[in-house]
């Protein structure tokens, strides 16, 4: 496998002013993010709301400027492209390779455009083709996601949520991309429709040789679709591991808490109340010193309050975690008492 995209020391901060005379404050939405995406894999980014996963996705695709670090795209043809250094015109050709699927199918399709024009828009902007060829390409892409040819003249309001999301997928795929960033692509959908869309994404990945960055807060979905999982907390990557290893034995206490929060569909196996994570996610402008998670971690010790742990490989495996005690802590995985595989199969 070759690396398709690498994120190096990426950071993003916002400056906010709470009042007219209040001092400027800096909010660190992303701090020193390092990760790589291999060609052909599905990389999931998980974390609770506000942890920066959507910001990361938007910074990677350059929908908003990052404050530091680099995002480098490695096209198959060779020649690395530093996406973060490009201006609007320079990045345009690469927009064909890296596409996005949005969370809310209600707001991501222009209500004033017919489905045909919505899907044709990227082709027209990039002047890929026109006329008959364009029509054929749009209709066949829509057919791949299960939208029949006689519906292409309708407006988005005539479709259900699942259908709209599939139209959004068609819009992302019509340019024949290499990397697709799916930002909470299924979380606005009903569970039954989620399964349908996830299976569609899997099929399309196999058919077009796609690579996915799958941003989600739903570990059940992530377990089903992802090859590797990046766990984020407060703008940091706290764990980066192959899906099975993470679910088997997480190495970061935050990952453990996330896994524990997975609902178990079988009442007989439910063991009392779940342990809740203590406290609230800290305000970004007032981030704790030391390990970002120490305010809520039940294993926290003095060292965690002063020294910030770096992301490092655990015992030489593919599993990386940012915890001082990653090797020694006996953290609970999800497989032992609640196999989550096969939920959507």
């Amino acid at each position: 496998m070759s690396t398709l995209l690498s994120v190096e020391n990426l950071s993003k901060h916002y400056t906010v002013k709470s009042g007219l005379f209040a001092p400027m404050r800096q909010l660190d939405a992303l701090t020193d993010i390092n990760l790589t995406v291999e060609a052909g894999e599905t990389l999931a980014i998980v974390g609770e709301s506000g942890c920066g996963k959507t910001t990361l996705g938007r910074c990677i695709i350059n929908a908003q400027p990052s404050s530091g670090g680099r995002v480098v795209y490695h096209p198959k043809a060779g020649g690395d492209v530093e996406l973060t250094a490009l201006n609007k015109r320079q990045i345009k050709p690469w927009r064909q390779d890296i596409r996005m699927i949005f969370q809310d199918p209600m707001s991501s399709l222009n209500p004033n455009m017919r489905v045909f024009d919505i899907v044709a828009e990227p082709l027209r902007i990039h002047k890929v083709c026109k006329g008959r060829e364009l029509e054929d390409r749009v209709v066949s892409t829509l057919a791949k996601v299960g939208i029949p040819a006689d519906a292409v003249g309708r407006y988005p309001h005539a479709f259900s949520g699942g259908q709209r999301q599939r139209i959004g997928i068609a819009r992302a795929l019509v340019l024949d991309p290499k990397l697709v960033i799916a930002d909470e692509a299924v979380s606005a959908l009903d569970v039954s429709i989620q399964a349908q869309v996830l299976n569609l994404l899997e099929d399309l990945k196999a058919e077009f040789g796609l690579t996915y960055i799958f941003i989600s807060h739903d570990l059940g979905v992530v377990n089903y679709i992802a090859d590797r999982v990046v766990v984020m907390y407060l703008g940091h990557v706290v764990e980066n591991a192959p899906t099975e290893m993470l679910f088997e034995r997480p190495r970061h206490p935050y990952a453990e808490v996330l896994l524990e929060a997975l609902p178990i569909a079988d009442p007989t196996r439910r063991k009392g109340r779940k342990t809740e994570v203590r406290g609230e996610i800290p305000y970004l402008g007032n981030r704790p010193v030391g390990c970002p998670f120490h305010t809520r971690c039940k294993y926290a010790q003095d060292r965690c309050r002063t020294e910030k742990p770096a992301l490092r490989p655990i015992n030489g495996t593919a599993q990386e975690a940012a915890c001082h005690f990653a090797e020694t802590l006996e953290l609970k995985g999800a497989y032992e008492d609640a196999p989550v595989t096969g939920t959507y199969a």
Binding site: R95, N110, N112, I125, E135, V139, G153, R154
Partner: protein
């Protein structure tokens, strides 16, 4: 195969029903608002009158006749009984006779029910240009007898026909509303659009300017500007100057509406999607953003028209807007300024009734449009 289907869809009339456009949906919602629908017809009627003023007005609005000063309204009657008690159908008006007030020795006109002057449709008249472009020599209605009086709504101080003046005034007053709003819309969309799409310091600056302009009392501002107009300007120049003065305030409201729509749309996912498609700003604005708020803008503009009409009326009424040879509702109401005239010739207030009807109708129509344009409304 794909193409066949597309071609079929274009030609097959049945598919139309399924593919209802945003405008079609809007019209369906609008139709449910009965008051707005009635208002739409009233407004359309008034604008039709304004467009066809020369054809509909029976007389020349500036033709005076000192024999009939303050002649009361004749009204149009349709059924008459002749000497044998039989009914005759056909429009006619009564003539006038003069009475001398024994105390004040003042001459007054009273309706003379003995004389009947028939009114005919499509009568020959002196040649004129309809709306300044189409040469015509037929009026909608009039009298054929030479020198017979026709004052359906009465006459003014100089014996001019109020109805004809009202019809010509409708043209000026309604068009100044439209012209003012068009001008405001032009400035509003450009300034508000820039402000909302790019945001930042430009947005803050524009908003502060708008707040400043809106904090000024409008009537004194207009008075000052109108007073600064050179007296030797032609009627047309004055007309455009007044339009400009009115839209000086008017654009602020529309700029705010446009800015608000831009701000809320800028964060919509479909706009982000277009940005990520690599679309240019121009394409995003014209293809993705403007179509989705055009209906709101039209509704807001419609609601701004009555304000313009009222402002023109107020300025002209005070003698600072349009000046005498131009006939507008405001200049017509100037005649109704003193109480003695009103006591003897109350029909001079009819332009005021027109103002009320048109303003109310435009407001109801605008409300209906706004409700119909709101996708979240019921």
């Amino acid at each position: 195969m794909a193409l066949d289907t597309l071609d079929q869809m274009a030609t097959r009339p049945k598919a139309r029903a399924v593919r209802e456009s945003q405008l079609g949906l809007m019209w369906r919602r609008f139709k449910r608002h009965k008051l707005a629908l009635v208002s739409l017809w009233i407004v359309t009627g008034f604008y039709l009158v304004a467009l066809l003023a020369e054809f509909i007005a029976p007389l020349d609005p500036s033709a005076y006749n000192p024999r009939y000063t303050y002649a009361p309204p004749q009204g149009i009657h349709f059924v008459s009984t002749d000497a044998d008690g039989r009914w005759n159908f056909g429009p006619y008006v009564y003539g006038y006779k003069t009475e001398i007030d024994p105390v004040a020795l003042r001459r007054t006109f009273v309706i003379d029910e003995e004389t009947k002057i028939p009114v005919q449709l499509f009568v020959e008249s002196k040649p004129y240009m309809l709306a300044g472009v189409i040469p015509m020599s037929v009026k909608l209605f009039g009298v054929t007898e030479p020198r017979a009086p026709l004052y359906v709504l009465g006459a003014d101080r100089l014996g001019r026909d109020l109805l004809s003046r009202l019809i010509h005034g409708t043209r000026i007053s309604l068009s100044i509303g439209l012209a003012g709003v068009t001008l405001s819309l032009f400035f509003g969309i450009i300034i508000g659009g820039f402000s909302g799409y790019y945001g930042g310091w430009f947005d803050s600056a524009v908003m502060r300017v708008i707040e400043f302009i809106r904090s000024m009392p409008t009537i004194p501002l207009w008075l000052g500007l109108a007073a600064a107009m050179p007296k030797d300007w032609s009627a047309l120049q004055t007309y455009f100057a007044i339009t400009l003065i009115l839209s000086l305030i008017g654009w602020t409201e529309l700029a705010r509406v446009v800015r608000g729509r831009f701000l809320s749309l800028r964060t919509e996912d479909f706009v982000t999607a277009a940005q990520l498609d690599g679309a240019s700003d121009w394409r995003i604005i014209t293809r993705h953003m403007v179509p989705s708020f055009m209906s709101h803008i039209i509704a807001a503009a419609t609601l701004a028209v009555p304000g313009m009409i009222l402002a023109e009326t107020a300025l002209s009424f005070l003698g600072l807007g349009l000046q005498a040879p131009i006939v507008s509702w405001g200049t017509l109401l100037q005649d109704a300024q003193n109480i003695r005239t009103l006591a003897t010739a109350p029909w001079l207030l009819v332009p005021g009734i027109c103002v009320v009807i048109v303003i109310l109708s435009l407001n109801f129509f605008g409300d209906g449009l706004r409700d119909a344009a709101d996708p979240h409304g019921r």
